[in-house]
Amino acid sequence: MTAWPLLLDTLPQVQRERLFTLAGERDFPAGGTLFDEGGVADRFWLIRSGEVALDVYVPGRRAQVVETLGPRQQLGWSWIFPPYRWHLGARALCPVRTWEFPAAEVRELCTADTELGYELMLRCAALIADRLQATRLRLLDLYAPHGSVPS
């Protein structure tokens, strides 16, 4: 397994390079905000190092972290679908290095190069499905006191 971001891991090199022509390096300081709930989802990131927390704002309480993302993982998919608005907030837990991709250009590339677009969307769908599965399992509260746990 290479150290490529998972989204691009199995993408043919030609397509990967075409995508990367659109990307720029972008770093965030610890505590930095990548986006807020409801903001315009006009970009996404592939994390190179560091950790980003996805949170939900709850009045009267600290922002509730629902999941964190780290190296090789993709941050953001709200840019894929209208109305292109973030559903959660994202904050850097430590200094974070990323490749940042502009959403509009990537969507245009996908439209122009449908083969690349299909491959990219397949991978996005797989990542979304994977996170949905993980979320469902977390709903089970696997490690709860009454749970079935090897002793």
Partner: protein, 270 residues
Amino acid sequence: MTTVPVPYRVTAASAETADCVSLEVTPVGQALPGFTPGRFAMVYAFGVGEVPISVSAIGGGHRLVHTVRAIGAVTGALCRLRAGDAVGLRGPYGVGWDLDAAAGSDVLVVAGGIGLAPLRPVVRHVLGHPGHYGRLRVLIGTRAPEDLLYREELAHWRRAAAQVEVTVDRPGPGWRGSVGLVTTLLDRVDTRPDRTTALVCGPEVMIRHTARALLARGLPAHRIQVSLERNMRCGTGHCGHCQLGPLLLCRDGPVVGYHRTRSLLAVREL
């Protein structure tokens, strides 16, 4: 006589979390030889009953540590024991982690909740044999930061060059680490599927999900070892309770290759 417990004395009882206690036990007289990482003992709480517990440490002087979670009458009684109290032990039973099979390869430990307990001696063994194994990675999923076992020891493992990643389901205030299912940590580590042995223990749902994620990353099923749980009364393969299809888990397990259990775990109520 493997049906009769041997007296041991609790020489240290330390609370790991709100409901987990590590009991260090030492034989009063005759010791039970032969414990290896992943094997288990039937631990007897006087007058209450017996439960199967994997060893969470194998020390010198025949000392053993069992990390027990209070979830029933017997485990509750064991968790109330203090240094100086008496327990009975039978064992060792079952098949432990196949560390010979992991020799020369990277070792990927994936633990969920108290599933870290039977894996702790593996980590200690690997760290104690530098050069025998490739890179050591320890991925731990737990419910909340306060449920994390062996916190101080994890720091020691990190200093000893193991990559240790922890993720929780429910971060409290002040938690600066990862949040999410333990499999999310697999994305973060650079696994070499052709030269990695994975050792997985936790709730069965977590084991199935983790094993699938490992297969998806290219690990062959026979390089994935899982530790499974079923009701056990005897430990000696005679009571019939711990059957999982063709397996008697007290005898053929609790550690079994995923290639032998994959289809069995998919059958409901097997």
